[in-house]
Amino acid sequence: MTVTEERGAAAAGEKAEIGRARRRKEDQRLITGRTRWTDNLVLPGMLHLAMVRSPFAHARIASIDTDAARSAPNVVGVFTAADLAELQGVLINAWPITPDQKAPTHTPIATERATFAGEVVAVVAARSAAAARDAAELVDVDYEELPAALDLKEAAADTVLAHPDLGTNKSAYWVFDSAQAGTGGDVEEAIAAARADGIVIEREYRQQRLIPAFMEPRSVLCDPTGEQLTLWTSTQVPHIVRFALAATTGMPESKIRVVAPDVGGGFGGKLQTTPEEWITVAVARHLGRPAKYTETRSESLVAGHHGRDQWQTLTLAATKDGRVTGLKVELLADLGSHVSLVGGGVPVLGAFMFNAIYKFPAYHFAVQTVLTNKTWTDAYRGAGRPEATFAIERLMDELATELGVDPLEVRERNWITHEEFPFTSVCGLEYDSGNYEAATAKAREMFGYDELRAEQARRREAGDPVQLGIGVSTFTEMCGLAPSRVLGSLDYGAGGWEHASVRMLPTGTVEVVVGVSPHGQGHETAFSQIVADRLGVPFEAVEILHGDTQVSPRGLDTYGSRSLVVGGEAVVKAADKVVEKARVVAAHLLEASADDLEFRDGRFTVRGTDQGMALTEVASAVFAAHDMPEGVEPSLDSDATYDPENFSFPHGTHLCAMEVDTETGAVKMRKYVACDDVGNIINPLIVEGQVHGGLVQGIAQALWEEAVHDDAGTLVSGSFVDYLLPTAADTISFDVDHTTSPATSNSLGTKGVGEAGTIASTPAVVNAVVDAVRHLGVNDVRMPCTPERVWRAIQDARAAQEPTEPAAMPHFDADEPGRSSTEGAGA
């Protein structure tokens, strides 16, 4: 039995909902599609939009001839930026990371220049989606192609400018230094000392560009009828969309209603205010008619924001016995063609996590964000933290190799021990709780670590063409975004609080309104479990309302693994207020003192008597309001706004075994163990689902996914033929378990789980691939670790070891018949 289950049982008797692996109440409608996705919505007189997009990465728009499109059948209007200049507004950057950050003005429709291949240059409105698409083909745009800034390193050198009028591609340079911050020592001194008498590891890693690739392409429907403008949109952030629309289009916020109906996934890709939303609003307002735009998958891949895309230059200093003395991180981060909603802030979110679970005495971080003529980048599951975790977990394996010790051993020499919590990191963050020893010990046992190491040794000894590698990732992350004061100190444009209301209905059911906005997470189930326990009502009696700014006017939406640890805490506080309000009424009706009432399992009882009444009876009495105590309002409804004191710090130990076919470079996962510590667990089934999905997404970065542009800036991986998403058929069954160190920063003791698997798994997989062929001389394979890259890494390592082959290649038995011919073919 886990700590969670014990705690849950203690809290609410045998009927405890918290800790139950309930199936998700929303799944039937989501899985069968018997629900309303944005694209299913049809309004009377609704028009359909099609976008005309630039095929060029960088081009001056000399002219746009819309005549043929305008006169095409069923077309109602064709609009360029000039046509909608008064209405289209601008797209905002909510996180200018430095005061002098350079950011080009971002209009929804490109004005003078198209700045990436896929940018909207015109929009067609027609009576059917087909007519709109047909007419879009008829829009004749005269482009004058301009040199494009594509390669990140070249762009950072300003050889070609993405926005010539800015004079540079360098957007912002953001630094954290532990010596300057007073949170640690001087990293240059640490490196100098290690060069003199210690170990210095220097590496450069590439975080490839990724595409969030959510299941439901983005769709938006705007109804400008009457006084109010209603926008249905497939978004993670209805409240942010509403705020930004008001702020940039001049419409009063009170007139704007944004609805995120059921939304099919986001992974950060729908944490955005999009050109397509703004264009749909502008066209609908201009024509005074409802207008809908649903992107195709091709458009989604090219124009939905991308993620990652960094070069990481890393210097790690350590003593000869493997204690890290300093870490220096220098990043180049590709923003794409604009600084999008939180685009510049993504690497900053990672800045605090390169030190991970370790006690590093000195740390320096610097990021240069760079504009290029590619799709803009922004949050993608983990946002900054996967990049950080990858870098440090790869480096720890390199350090282990340098020292000749087991990679788990070198981590143990550096990690924070469980007695040391709460622990203030070299970045100044206070890690509230954790137990890295326990998670690692459990993972190690689940994995059969020693047996797999023994098998690895046997395969090396035998020169098996299929080699075995073991990868370690002991991660932590900061999530549960976020304490508002911390966001303020980082120049983020909003707070990190969350809001909830609980309404007791007279018939005994409970409506809970939340500001977080689910898009597949299972909020309705988990929050129902919390409220059921808190109020002692049946799980089935709780209804969770969300995703409509008219129903849920206050909220900051869903991202950064915040919904439970921030939003769930707001739910708890609102529910507790209901109980306190009901206590006064119950005392009155029971003719007892409020102090003498006990609330347990949904019932108030007068201590020491058998007198009592259920909360639902109180609710009914309050509805009738026939007999209220003097001066008490006839309502139990309660609101709470919760601003977290701290981030959430889930952690875990992930172990991965990969088989590498040295003849082809093919990699195959053999075993994957994830032992995560996400604090107390509300619903183990949902947590397991989040971990499984997160793992696959992180594994996909390691092995499969990469957004590739050609020399002209066209997205080559522009369909799922070339952008390889894994399916269940490509993955194995993961071994998932957990340890529990309850969070001390919230009342439920929970930690975020939405991003953990993605953050942890990527380095585990790459470490395993490298470990499988390290004895052949390989110390890195760039992601994704395609068979070709793995095979070439082996060939290059062999070539580097010449002319000592074949006699001095101890790992393959040169006498084995037939081996030499394969090697000959490969060389």
């Binding site: 087909a130 091709s298 003849e663 082809t664 990469e706 070339d722 390889l724 068979p787 011919s821 073919a825």
Partner: protein, 284 residues
């Protein structure tokens, strides 16, 4: 993903289909299972004025024996091919390749004839029928003609089919008693093969008496590795026994370079995979 407008014809006989093609010429496009054409239409990479659907011509379906040949109607689905005992008995490599083709939905829609007429060099069936020495029955205004597979596949998406002709059947010489194996190299299962090798082997007294080897995605169209076939005669069906012969798989190849690997890597793979395919076909 809305295609450009087109007219849709659904003939119920071969004659009607041919009449439609005669009338519309190269403005028309034939659709079989639609698993390749529909995405192309939806992405507007092709905008035919007329689409002629062969799906209602019952005479184009089915698998039967005709003497020492197996005759597969062009509109026979991949699912029907892979679940056919006749195919598994007489053309094992085709059955094995079809087992690995895409997913269940696609196998129930896509057809053998459609895949061959499309002639995508990364398609799985071409190398099988080519290596088995199949003939393709092509019907046009003047009646039916038979084209050997090695004269049917001309290049990238290019076949000997005229604008006014349709592929009606595939005649495969029975390879009864032969082992067959399709070695497909992919990064994810739903992907077209980076390289694949179709191998069929007949053993006599523990050594290889005859072998047929076809290559997928090693050139603008399917290739038959005749050098490998010759070199395999008399070889012991073990990895070591066939490795030298398998190296000849690179002869005459012209593989593409793309995100999954460059031409050199594909040539290397062809050798490794050929050895594995042959050994597996031999039951190893």
């Amino acid at each position: 993903m809305i295609p450009a407008p087109f007219d849709y014809l659904a003939p119920t006989t071969v004659e009607e289909a041919l009449a439609a093609l005669a009338e519309h010429g190269d403005d028309a496009k034939v659709v079989a299972g639609g698993q390749s054409l529909l995405p192309v239409l939806r992405m507007r990479l092709n905008t035919p004025e007329v689409v002629v659907d062969l799906g209602r011509i019952d005479s184009l379906r089915g698998i039967r024996e005709e003497g020492d040949h197996l005759v597969v109607g062009a509109m026979t689905t991949h699912h029907e091919v892979r679940t056919s005992d006749l195919v598994r008995t007489h053309a094992a490599v085709l059955a094995h390749a079809t087992d690995q083709l895409a997913d269940s939905q696609i196998r129930h829609r896509g057809t053998l004839g459609g895949a061959l007429a499309h002639a995508d060099p990364a398609g799985d069936q071409g190398a099988c029928v080519l290596s088995l020495g199949a003939e393709l029955e092509v019907t046009g205004p003047g009646g039916a003609r038979t084209v050997p597979a090695d004269q049917f596949f001309l290049g990238l998406f290019e076949t000997a089919l005229g604008d006014d002709e349709i592929l009606t059947a595939v005649r495969i010489p029975k390879h009864t008693g032969w082992g067959g194996h399709y070695e497909k190299f992919v990064r994810v299962v739903h992907q077209w093969p980076i390289v694949a090798v179709a191998a069929s082997v007949r053993l006599e007294g523990g050594t290889i008496a005859e072998a047929r080897v076809g290559l997928t995605n090693m050139g603008p169209t399917y290739l038959r590795a005749r050098g490998v076939e010759e070199a395999l005669v008399g070889a012991t069906p073990t990895l070591d026994g066939v490795r030298e012969a398998a190296e000849r798989a690179t002869e005459g190849t012209d593989p593409p370079s793309d995100l999954n690997g460059d031409a050199d890597y594909r040539r290397h793979l062809a050798g490794v995979l050929t050895a594995r395919a042959v050994v597996a076909a031999a039951g190893g």
